[in-house]
């Protein structure tokens, strides 16, 4: 009896479908819970879903590497999904045409500083080169950031954790700082959310208004492109 159970366990671990089913189940469960507790911005569904998967793996004593071999089949779709981001970018080109000057003046320094501040702080506190590489693309939307991390040689799990915390922090920071700075322009608030808080900030911006959402997704795409083009080059030049 137990021998055949072990055999069954082996068979289920071999097929990627187990990992895919676990991923879908955890994500749907997380969406349900997050909806129930009123979608707080400090707890994105991804975070809860990842916790559920981690707890299941731990409970069933499945090696995380086995899970990731299976879920790689799902993450394969990130390639075409990144290309798909070109469609909303195309649909928002009219904003770029209308506001190219303020964009050209503020987006590159903002996107570059989003990375530099964290690198400087981490470096000053003695972080290793691998940690620095993992933190550098922290404000970039995940599918693009995963491509950047391949070039820099950082740790994917650390990057993912950093992305989540950055998104949540950026959302908090924008709502905290907007009033003292006297900024009520939803275009500016949306941009700040998209540039610093990638997809998590963009979701929050769409809750504020359609204008804020459109500018957040534009800020997110442009930051992603700018960082993807410049960061690996800067990394090479610095000899890291």
């Amino acid at each position: 009896m137990s021998a055949s159970l072990i055999e069954l366990r082996e068979a289920l671990l071999v097929t990627p479908l187990s990992a895919i089913a676990l991923t879908l189940a955890a994500y749907l469960a997380a969406l349900w819970v997050v909806e129930r507790i009123g979608r707080p911005s400090w707890c994105p569904a991804v975070l809860l879903a990842a916790l559920l998967v981690a707890a299941s793996l731990w409970g069933l004593s499945i090696d995380v590497a086995d899970y990731q071999r299976g879920s790689d089949w799902l993450m394969l779709l990130l390639g075409p999904a990144t290309v798909a981001l070109g469609v909303p970018l195309y649909q928002q080109l009219h904003h770029i045409r209308a506001l190219w000057k303020p964009l050209a003046l503020s987006l590159p320094p903002a996107a570059a500083l989003a990375s530099c501040y964290s690198l400087a702080l981490a470096w000053a506190l003695g972080a290793s080169p691998e940690v620095l590489a993992s933190l550098a693309p922290k404000s970039v939307t995940a599918p693009i950031a995963l491509g950047i991390i391949d070039e820099l040689g950082g740790s994917v799990p650390l990057l993912m954790g950093g992305l989540l915390i950055t998104g949540v922090m950026a959302t908090l920071a924008v709502s905290l700082l907007a009033a003292p700075l006297g900024i009520r322009d939803h275009r500016i608030l949306g941009f700040a959310l998209g540039i610093n808080g990638h997809a998590i900030g963009t979701v929050r911006a769409f809750e504020m208004s359609a204008t804020a959402g459109a500018f957040a997704s534009l800020g997110m795409s442009l930051t992603g492109i700018f960082t993807a083009l410049c960061l690996p080059l800067a990394w090479r030049l610095l000899g890291l």
């Binding site: 569904a45 990842a50 469609v87 303020p102 506190l125 940690v131 915390i165 275009r187």
Partner: protein, 126 residues
């Protein structure tokens, strides 16, 4: 359904085109980003059916959070690999993000032209 398949073929094709360029030219950029830029350029040139590509793009973009989730799982299993560095990581993420949000807001406040009146009325009721 066929439109979705056609759109998915476009997306996959552009990813492969991006990968081809990355490999041939030795670009330090991911295939997805190159594919995305080429896709935007193609749509600007009005080549390809936007409806097909949008039919495949919208569900994929909606699923992005789920697609990256398996990558997040790993963070709960690397605690020991980065022992002694978690303070640096936490300070960098929290402090760095606060500083960069502040900089972005100040830069945009400085350079953004006043809103056109149509948008201003919409902003009046947050």
């Amino acid at each position: 359904m066929i439109a979705l398949l056609r759109g998915f073929l476009w997306l996959t094709g552009f990813w492969l085109l991006g990968e081809t360029l990355v490999v041939l030219l030795g670009l330090p950029v991911s295939a997805g980003v190159v594919g995305m830029l080429l896709m935007t350029a193609m749509l600007m040139l009005r080549v390809g059916r936007l409806e097909d590509i949008a039919a495949a793009s919208q569900p994929l973009i909606g699923l992005l959070a789920m697609l990256i989730m398996p990558g997040v799982v790993g963070v709960f299993f690397v605690a020991d690999d980065f022992a002694g560095q978690w303070l640096a990581v936490a300070v960098a993420l929290v402090g760095g993000t606060l500083a960069s949000v502040l900089t972005t807001l100040l830069l945009m406040r400085r350079f953004m032209p006043p809103e056109p009146s149509a948008a201003a009325t919409e902003e009046a009721s947050p």
